[in-house]
């Protein structure tokens, strides 16, 4: 085989592309105030949530879909989407045993056991299937430590004051088109509250599964860490293969008070569309933002983005507290016809705030991969520091990589470092590995993993292996 022509011929099938056959309760396609009222009713929400939704909806109607991201897709018909889909259930679940066995099997197939004490023994999981939470493991054990980990709908009911105080405080409904849409129609999501002086005793994880066709998933996650508290949270996602694109417009809000530490990791493996035609796949238009409200607080984002037809997300940190720290570690892999416009925003407001950005973009096939980042050091943020490193790797002749770093420094006492590199996986590197007996696929995976090692080491150990394997799966047969 000649390596002369680096050409993407990957046709490895997406292994999570199956659909679960289960009775689904849907709200008719389309979006209007009645639909929003219906969603609110189904969730048995208090009045303030409905008001929040309607305010957002009315604002959304006045907004335009952003056109600045470097991605192409046909106009989305927002009236052609189901905004609520839930597997039918009879009664409220009392325990894990009540979970529909079909759903249990689905998550098992996805590698997410819903029984406690299983494979992921030290990870508590909230499993979300279309618009509703199916099960949350270790809830009681966590509650003994004062840690609340539950579906957002439950939090609205049990902890309305916390939800009222913080929901929308980091990503307001006016923030952007997709955040406004989410605020109007959000269905489920996870809620985490870690009280003062508490280290969350286990990893928390939410697993998102889109199953129903023509539905959007609009979850909303809210994580609050009180003084001296810390938590590590991981989100995973998959979807079946459909010919039509599906919209996923989520919002994640993190709030860290004095000395609090939140680590948020994502391993994203949505269906990316047909490898050959590019048909179908998830539009992943997500707003994630963390607010370091307290002094010396820290928020760290780690993301491994491998799926989705289109990715549009910029997990960001607003560094308000003095001496607070924001971090962003990202690996974005695009193959075939995938498009990604992703990066971060670091907004420095407090004194001596620090941020680190390490972004690794890998493009293969005919894909388009863009890093877009903003570092803004405000006048008040005296003595602040940022270090940015954004590297791109190209595999083959038909892919594109772009980097748009925006830097805005408004005081003279801050320092900023920026490094960027573009590398191409060379025939020489591959031959070198092969000459040592390593196969072509393994050689490529090794080189790419090496390229991403700075980011992988930030992942919780339970998931670092998974991420490495995922990447190698996505790269199989990329060089031919």
């Amino acid at each position: 085989m000649s390596l002369k022509e680096f050409e993407a011929i990957a046709n490895k099938e997406y292994e999570y592309g199956f659909k679960t056959d289960i009775k689904t309760e849907l709200i008719e396609k389309g979006l209007n105030e009645d639909v929003i009222r219906l969603i609110s009713e189904k969730n048995k929400e208090p009045e303030f949530v409905l008001e929040f939704r309607l305010k957002a909806y009315r604002h959304w109607l006045k907004m335009e879909e952003p056109e600045w991201p470097l991605v192409d897709y046909p106009k989305i018909d927002y009236q052609d989407i189901h905004y609520y889909a839930a597997p039918e259930k009879k009664e409220k679940l009392k325990s894990m045993d009540d979970v529909d066995p079909e759903l249990k099997r689905t998550f098992e197939k996805l590698g997410i056991p819903l029984q406690e004490q299983k494979k992921l023994a030290n990870v508590a999981v909230d499993a979300i299937f279309d618009s509703v939470s199916v099960a949350t493991t270790y809830k009681d054990k966590l509650l003994k430590h004062g840690v609340v980990f539950c579906p957002l709908s439950e939090a609205v009911e049990k902890y309305p004051d916390l939800v009222k105080k913080y929901m929308g405080s980091v990503v307001p409904h006016t923030d952007n088109f997709f955040a406004a849409l989410n605020a109007a129609v959000f269905t489920e999501g996870s809620f985490v509250y870690v009280p003062k002086d508490t280290v969350c005793p286990m990893e928390l994880s939410t697993y998102f599964r889109i199953n129903a066709e023509d539905t959007g998933q609009f979850e909303r996650t809210l994580i609050i860490c009180e003084e001296n508290a810390s938590v590590s949270y991981l989100e995973g996602c998959t979807a079946p293969m459909f010919d039509k694109n599906q919209l996923h417009a989520a919002v994640v809000e993190l709030v860290a008070l004095d000395n609090a530490d939140i680590k948020y990791s994502t391993v994203q493996n949505w269906y990316a569309g047909d490898p050959k035609t590019g048909k179908g796949g998830i539009y992943n238009f997500v707003t994630k933002r963390g607010k370091c409200l307290g002094k010396k607080s820290k928020i760290s984002w780690t993301q491994i983005e491998t799926g989705s037809a289109i990715t549009w997300k910029y997990p960001s940190c607003i560094l308000m507290g003095d001496d607070s720290i924001g971090e962003f570690y990202s690996v974005a892999l695009t193959n075939h016809h995938q498009q990604a416009d992703t990066g971060t925003k670091m907004i420095h407001i407090g004194k001596r705030t620090k941020s680190t950005i390490i972004s690794k973009g890998i493009s293969a096939g005919k894909s388009k991969n863009t890093y877009r980042g903003l570092v803004q050091i405000n006048k008040s943020a005296k003595g602040s520091e940022n270090f940015t490193q954004c590297d791109s790797m190209l595999i083959g002749p038909n892919c594109t990589a772009n980097t748009f770093p925006y830097i805005d420094v408004r005081n003279a006492s801050s320092t900023l470092g920026h490094e960027a590199a573009t590398v191409k996986v060379s025939e020489e590197q591959i031959l070198y590995c092969q000459q040592r007996g390593i196969s072509l696929d393994d050689a490529l995976t090794t080189i790419v993993n090496g390229f991403c090692s700075d980011v992988f080491k930030e992942l919780p150990t339970e998931f670092a292996v998974e991420a490495t394997q995922l990447l190698s799966l996505k790269l199989e047969n990329t060089v031919g």
Partner: protein, 246 residues
């Protein structure tokens, strides 16, 4: 036994090798010398299966097995090892892990069990001692940030660990100081004593003071123009390529 039978090969549609035949027996050291552009490096490329080489003809056999149609990794696992003239770096990949991966690829190819990191560590430590290299060396990324000499010594470390049948050293002496040159030569001589087949590609006679060849082949215009013993290299040093051809 390593045989190269009437091998022809082109790069960028230009015929570089025009029919090379060599026979190398276990325990023998063969040196290939020749002026720039004579096809020395292309010979190494065709043996390992470099993608630059177009439609090679002829046969390259280890014992009785023709490896010319095999993938580069299969050829390596059949026992061909090339110490590169310019070893490439692979940032972020730990040297020890890379070595173990290569070692295990070979084990797997031959239907043997893979080695775990602990046993492998012991195995590598022994080899490091031979090369008087520090263990720290293993924790660095493959060739990344290595000096020229360190890269060459890393090649030799890989050679000792992978224990191939046929060793090709492509200009291994370039960029080495005297001390490193001696260490590298010691390792190669040890290999010779183990009945391995060694093919040295070199510009200068200097390396041959340390690794004494059984045969010296002079290449010219894609062919072997002269074969002799070690004295041929000395004559060459004295008279130059032109002098030797006349």
């Amino acid at each position: 036994m390593f045989t190269i039978k009437d091998v022809k090969a082109s790069i960028d549609e230009k015929e570089i090798l025009k029919g090379i035949s060599l026979e190398l027996k276990p325990g023998e050291v063969h040196a290939i010398m020749g002026p720039n552009g004579s096809g020395k490096s292309t010979l190494a490329k065709v043996i390992v299966g470099h993608p630059d080489v177009e439609d090679p003809e002829g046969e390259i056999c280890i014992d009785d097995k023709n490896i010319l149609d095999l993938e580069p990794d299969e050829r390596a696992n059949e026992g061909v090892f090339l110490a590169f003239q310019y070893p490439v770096d692979i940032p972020g990949v730990n040297n020890a892990e890379f070595l173990r991966m290569a070692y295990n690829a070979k084990q797997k190819y031959h239907g043997k069990e893979e080695i775990d990191p602990f046993d492998f560590n012991e195995l590598v430590k022994d080899k490091l001692k031979v090369l008087k290299m520090k263990e720290r060396f293993l924790e660095r990324p493959v060739n990344h940030g290595f000096s020229g000499g360190e890269k060459k010594r890393n090649e030799i470390l890989q050679l000792l660990v992978l224990d191939p049948k046929v060793v090709i050293l492509d200009e291994t002496d370039s960029g080495l100081d005297i001390d490193s040159l001696k260490q590298v030569s010691e390792a190669v001589n040890y290999f010779k004593s183990q009945d391995k087949i060694i093919l040295l590609i070199t510009h200068y006679q200097r390396l041959l003071n340390y690794i004494v060849p059984d045969y010296v082949h002079i290449m010219n215009d894609g062919k072997v123009s002269k074969t002799g013993d070690k004295s041929l290299a000395l004559t060459l040093e004295e008279k130059g390529y032109e002098g030797i051809e006349s």
